[in-house]
């Protein structure tokens, strides 16, 4: 989006009630309200930014927490356009939310080739408490992650498990890509326009 001072744009996608807002809430404000505040679905998308330091360099990541309701899917391009990373969230206790992930992978592959994908199973604390509740096995998720060359994380916004790890990884990946791109630029030939322009043959 125009006018953004943000270095890396990150977008969260996934079915409603997958825990996207809680994930962002934990990362940006380091708190979890899911136990005290009733569920509130996101309207449209909420935006937040955070400055992180990777290898001594600080970058700003702008995070788009999108609404999961189906009616927003048609408009989701507004939110993921130009994103460097997409966190595709699914609820570890809800198979249907995992099935929805394939839809998002397809969308991103089609419209945003340069967007790196991170799979994120949420609500790990529930699964830890009662393994019976797990509806998406780690091996299933891993094979999907392999398919789309994505990283896989199983996180809990309640305990904070792996959330910083996920975002740190996004930031380092971003820096690596940027460094690689700069390197490529240096190595590439620079074609300079020299000399006078020839008059257009058909204009005379």
């Amino acid at each position: 989006m125009a006018g953004s001072k943000v270095d890396a744009k990150v977008v969260l996608l996934g079915k409603s009630y997958a825990g996207k807002t809680s994930l962002v809430e934990r990362y940006l404000k380091n708190r979890f309200l899911g136990d005290s505040v009733p569920y509130q679905n996101t309207i449209g998308a909420a935006y937040g930014a955070k400055t992180v330091t990777v290898n001594g360099k600080s970058i700003i990541i702008g995070i788009w927490d999108t609404a999961g309701s189906e009616r927003y899917e048609a408009m989701s391009r507004i939110y993921y356009r130009g994103a460097r990373a997409a966190i595709l969230c699914y609820d570890l206790t809800d198979k249907s939310s995992f099935d929805r992930i394939r839809f998002w992978i397809g969308e991103l592959r089609q419209h945003e080739e340069n967007c790196k994908i991170y799979l994120c199973g949420t609500k790990y604390d529930l699964v830890e408490e009662d393994p019976e509740r797990r509806a998406v096995s780690t091996s299933n998720a891993k094979s999907l992650a392999l398919d789309c060359m994505a990283e896989l994380y199983e996180t809990s916004s309640k305990t904070g498990k792996d959330i910083d790890k996920l975002f740190t990884r996004i930031a380092t990946d971003y820096m690596k890509d940027k460094a690689a791109a700069e390197q490529r630029e240096k190595d590439a030939f620079t074609v300079k326009e020299t000399g006078r322009k020839l008059p257009c043959p058909c204009s005379s």
Partner: protein, 549 residues
């Protein structure tokens, strides 16, 4: 529920002509000086209620559902920047043509006949409902039956979309009955409008692809119920757009619309609660937060100076359901019904309090075919003062976000934000401030500006039941004055517990509630004084200047 003393034959005086002023010894009130009157209003003068007869409902969707405005703005601005490849609203405009057609007068007369004959068949309606099986507890529970007002939305094919009370899944049968009733009457080229059964009133509104049914045993008249159903329908449009709704049902007639409305139920619930408590929706007028006019100017200027952003159509600040300021693009106005949907969006969503948001919203009166994008943020820590920036440019989030920071900074610098907050903390104003004895409460609507004002609810209207009863009285008074068959200019109504006076002119609508013992002349003196008081306060109570970018 005590109904305005109807049982004991209230005395009523109806005037076809306003002969009020002749009785007044306090100096006549000059109607052309109607308080809150302005040639330059920020809102569209509301047309809604008087025009809301059956005649313009039903088929003529194209009249109330405007389309193409967004497209026009985009076209107008995109000539300067050809970089934009696609229109900002993703719904394509040409995909849907609504069949036009005017309902003839004869037809409407016929339908009124239908109305009567159906009412006679009330018994039949109740019998028509099939016996419910045991797992239909919801419908059979006394709790459900005793709800004062029900609102149902169903698709044309009878699929449940929304029910105010109870789970739609368990109401499949009852919604089937509603659909059957409506299509039975439609079969004979007619339309079902309302059914009265005992103390219940059933009101039906058929719009494109949806059927809305309201059931009330309150004071709401049929026409008022229709207005409420219109609000509910517009809320659906606001979430989906009219074009998308059409497209969906064109593809699949029996589509389960609830899939697309997940998470939007709270908008309907909240809207219906607003309808039951907020007079503005009855009057199709908006209440403004009382502020000194200089402060309001500072606020508006802060927006104008800092939000000169291309494609920004409306910028407004809302606090506790009241309008603080509205800045608009030249040529474009906001309709009070659309503003109520915006207020409802803010009121119903907790999630805006957490972070800056960027959300699509369709304003049905502005352009029903596409979305505007709204940048929504709260300006204060307590999340009371909400700034909305509505644009047709889907990519302007960061531009608007920066504009918001500048606006906020300027509001803080000029102490305007604290002025808003202190106005919010103070109760609006007391009826006593008007210094009119025996006046208990009133609603005053300035018609040209679509704004209204009313004092705080005080004794004897402190308990919720009492407030509900007062609101019922206003519904009654409003209904009597606006009855389509016999509209009145003035109505003096002596009830058991209070006396009501309603007065409607070109410029204003006034509904006043007095103690039961006031005389007719006393009431007339009182409203004249009241009008003068409002006139003195009009700068503070109304937004009289429309500010544009």
């Amino acid at each position: 529920m005590a109904a305005s003393g109807e049982a004991d034959q209230p005395r009523e005086v109806e005037f076809e002509q306003p002969n009020i002023s002749s009785d007044s010894d306090q100096g006549d009130f000059n109607e052309s000086e109607a308080p809150g009157k302005s040639e330059n209003a920020p809102l569209l003068a509301s047309d809604s209620f008087d025009d809301l007869s059956y005649n313009d409902l039903g088929v003529n969707d194209h009249q109330t559902v405007h389309r193409g405005t967004i497209h026009a703005i985009v076209r107008q601005t995109s000539t300067s920047s050809d970089s934009r490849s696609n229109t900002p609203n993703n719904v394509d405009h040409d995909s849907l043509e609504v069949s036009a057609g005017e309902e003839s007068l004869e037809e409407s007369a016929e339908s009124q006949m239908q109305n009567v004959s159906i009412a006679d068949k009330q018994e039949a309606v109740e019998l028509a409902a099939p016996p419910f099986s045991s797992d239909d507890e919801d419908v059979n529970s006394p709790e459900w039956k005793n709800q004062k007002k029900h609102v149902f939305i169903l698709s044309e094919s009878g699929k449940p979309v929304y029910s105010r009370h109870g789970n739609e899944d368990k109401l499949v049968t009852i919604m089937g009955v509603m659909q059957a009733l409506v299509s039975f009457v439609q079969d004979s080229k007619d339309s079902l409008r309302s059914v009265v059964a005992g103390e219940h009133k059933f009101v039906f509104l058929v719009r494109d692809h949806l059927l809305l049914v309201g059931v009330t045993r309150g004071m709401d008249s049929t026409q008022q119920m229709l207005l409420q159903l219109m609000y509910v329908y517009n809320q659906v449009i606001s979430v989906l757009t009219h074009s998308a709704l059409g497209k969906i049902f064109k593809q699949r007639r029996n589509y389960d619309l609830r899939r697309l409305l997940t998470g939007a139920e709270k908008f309907f619930d909240n809207l219906l609660n607003l309808i039951d408590t907020e007079p503005g929706l009855l009057l199709t007028a908006v209440r403004c937060l009382p502020l000194d006019s200089q402060v309001r100017d500072v606020i508006a200027q802060s927006i104008v100076q800092n939000a000169k952003v291309k494609d920004l159509v409306f910028a407004l600040i809302i606090a506790k359901n009241q309008l603080v300021t509205l800045v608009r693009m030249k040529k474009y106005y906001l309709h009070p019904m659309d503003l109520h949907l915006i207020i409802n969006l803010v009121n119903a969503s907790e999630s805006f309090k957490e972070a800056e948001s960027w959300t699509p919203i369709c304003l049905p009166k502005f352009d029903a075919s596409g979305f505007l994008q709204a940048h929504v943020s709260y300006l204060d820590e307590d999340c009371q003062v909400c700034l909305l920036l509505l644009s047709v440019d889907r990519d302007s989030f960061f531009t608007l976000s920066e504009a918001k920071d500048r606006i906020r900074a300027r509001l803080v610098r000029y102490n305007a934000l604290s002025a808003i907050n202190s106005s919010l903390r103070r109760t609006s104003y007391s009826t006593q401030q008007c210094a009119i004895s025996d006046l208990r409460h009133f609603l005053y609507k300035a018609r040209s500006t679509a704004q209204y004002t009313s004092p705080e609810l005080e004794a004897p209207y402190t308990k919720p039941e009492e407030q509900e009863r007062l609101f019922g009285l206003y519904h009654y008074l409003h209904h009597r004055i606006h009855t389509s068959g016999r509209p009145l200019k003035i109505l003096f109504h002596v009830g058991q517990y209070e006396t009501l006076l309603g007065w409607v002119t070109q410029g204003f609508e006034l509904y006043a509630v007095f103690g039961p013992l006031i005389t007719k002349t006393g009431a007339i003196h009182a409203v004249n004084r009241l009008l003068r008081w409002i006139k003195r306060e009009e700068d503070r109570l109304f937004i009289l200047n429309s500010v544009t970018f």
